[in-house]
């Protein structure tokens, strides 16, 4: 059985700028890989490249076959991508948006809507929702798909605390059901709660892949973000300084 996803010397260049060079890693079903790095480092671009939505060089192997040899339709069955919020100009309702995501074998719309706390929003146009409600709709759309790999770009962005926790728990549940998840997160606590492996991207082309337990240390993260990160018990937290 080939590994689900294997990257060998993957490099990404956008607008003449090298975002990533020579990233190698692999992942199996039931794993969560968290991508960390400063703004503009290329985290979202890596997800787009893994979804086949932007070009990359090197070798990306999906179920033993080169990613670039899959058709768009085949890729959409294997990889579900959650990125920017969709536009709202054309008046799609939440239910219509969710129906567009449904694939065979995915979750049932009503139960997914309940899980994401959006049952009451189903008939409302996307344009009338808050950013948090739209983000929950996007996460629900993801759950309606039967893809074995999820690529999530800041899934907890816009969410309140309750729904952030719900989102992290949902990722854990999906992992336990065999889903492979690669996600960009900015919150170190959330990353620590869910990551099996980390990809650290430094923004000048360098990337490091390894077990979460090894890479989660205050020195490495302080260096990555060029910001103070301190250890408090078992946790790593940003050092915001003393209360003024």
């Amino acid at each position: 059985m080939p590994e689900l996803l294997t990257l060998t010397n993957v490099a990404i260049e956008r607008a003449g700028r090298c975002l990533l060079s020579r990233l190698s890693c692999s992942m199996n079903a039931g794993e969560v890989v968290v991508i960390l790095g400063p703004n503009g480092a290329g985290k979202s671009s890596l997800l787009l490249a893994l979804a086949g939505l932007i070009p990359s060089t090197g070798e990306t192997s999906l179920l033993g076959k080169d990613l670039h040899h899959y058709s768009r339709h085949e890729l959409s069955r294997l990889i579900a991508w959650q990125g920017e919020l969709p536009p709202t100009e054309f008046g799609l309702t939440v239910q219509q948006r969710l129906n567009l995501a449904v694939t065979e074998g995915g979750g049932a719309l009503k139960s997914v809507a309940k899980t994401m706390d959006i049952q009451a929003l189903l008939q409302r146009p996307l344009g009338e929702l808050s950013s948090g409600e739209r983000q929950r709709t996007e996460l629900a759309a993801l759950m309606l798909r039967d893809a074995p790999i999820w690529l999530l770009d800041e899934p907890t962005a816009h969410l309140d605390l309750k729904h952030q926790i719900q989102c992290i728990n949902m990722m854990k549940k999906q992992r336990s059901q065999g889903r492979a998840i690669i996600t960009v997160l900015h919150d170190i606590q959330q990353a620590m709660a869910v990551a099996d492996h980390l990809i650290l991207i430094d923004g000048v082309g360098g990337a490091e892949y390894g077990e979460a337990g090894l890479l989660f240390n205050s020195g490495r993260l302080s260096q990555l973000f060029d910001a103070p990160v301190v250890t408090q018990g078992d946790l790593l937290v940003p050092d915001y300084g003393k209360r003024m």
Partner: protein, 310 residues
């Protein structure tokens, strides 16, 4: 929803009957008294109302497609300059052979396709850049048109302006061709409806959900431009139908294209039939250019929609 579809069909039937009856002389189609009335009804009014229906439907379909293609609800069939190039072609035809409506139509058709070829050159660009390219092309064709109008002999000016404001009285494309184009365009649109729905989520989302966006955009651009070219050739440039009708139909039937496209094809036809009926009768026996009436109806409707949305 069934009620709304029924209302649309009822309004369509009533409008077709009204368009058949109304004119310089009122004729009841169910009690035609002589062969003259029969000739007016079936040889003049009936083909003209079918032409209006088909052209209106084609413009509304093209508008719906351009709005999705460019990701911009303000897009309409003429947004990429096809109307300007068609008008320049029509005026060129008028300059070459002044009294031939046929040559004018041929000029419009050739002009429209030259405009489309220009647009296709920019089809690989993203929506915003393509829109920007279209606006610049439209400005270019406006300048060409202004130059041609400046060179046009005075007696041709009225004909040129009438055509540019929309004119269903000189259509040289057979009604059967226009109705076939209406059916083919609608069927093609319905075949693409799922992909169009996914495109409403943005190009990235559509692609992630399995749509070959590049191919879809090319097909859509070609289809919408071809439909616009046929409509412009048949009736000149008629504004607002392609802008207003898709919005109105989204409000009535929701955003999914399996409903928006047939509703727009019918609604656009209906609006142009009504506008043309008014254009034929308001200052009878003379006629107003139908584009004036679609604008007079279209502008307040569109402003109302804008205010309602905000």
């Amino acid at each position: 929803m069934m009620l709304r579809w029924s209302a649309l069909f009822f309004t369509l039937c009533a409008s077709l009957l009204l368009a058949l009856s109304i004119g310089e002389q009122w004729i009841n189609p169910f009690s035609v008294t002589d062969s003259f009335e029969q000739m007016i009804l079936w040889d003049l009014r009936f083909p003209r109302l079918l032409t209006a229906f088909a052209v209106g439907g084609l413009l509304a379909l093209a508008g719906a497609w351009f709005q999705v293609l460019l990701g911009n609800p303000l897009a309409e069939p003429y947004v990429l300059g096809v109307a300007g190039s068609a008008s320049a072609g029509a005026v060129t035809g008028l300059m070459l052979i002044p009294d031939s409506a046929w040559v004018m139509s041929l000029g419009a058709f050739i002009g429209a396709w030259i405009g489309i070829l220009f647009v296709m050159f920019f089809s690989h660009l993203g929506s915003n850049r393509m829109l920007l390219a279209g606006v610049v092309l439209a400005a270019f064709w406006s300048a060409v048109l202004a130059l041609l109008l400046a060179l046009l002999p005075e007696q041709g000016l009225f004909r040129a302006f009438a055509w540019m404001m929309g004119d269903l009285s000189h259509s040289d494309i057979p009604v059967t061709v226009l109705l076939s184009a209406w059916v083919i365009a609608l069927v093609c649109g319905l075949m693409l409806s799922r992909a169009l729905d996914l495109l409403l989520l943005g190009e990235r989302h559509a692609e992630a959900l399995g749509v070959d966006v590049k191919k879809l955009r090319q097909r859509l651009l070609l289809l919408a431009s071809a439909v616009t070219a046929i409509a412009v050739t048949a009736a000149g440039t008629i504004g607002f139908i392609g802008l207003v009708i898709p919005h109105l139909m989204r409000l009535l039937f929701g955003s999914l294209h399996r409903a928006v496209l047939p509703a727009s094809a019918i609604g656009g036809g209906l609006l142009l039939v009504l506008a043309d009926s008014a254009a034929r009768t308001v200052i009878a026996p003379a006629e107003l250019p139908v584009g004036i009436l679609t604008a007079i109806i279209g502008v307040p409707v569109f402003l109302f929609l804008l205010l309602r949305r905000s």
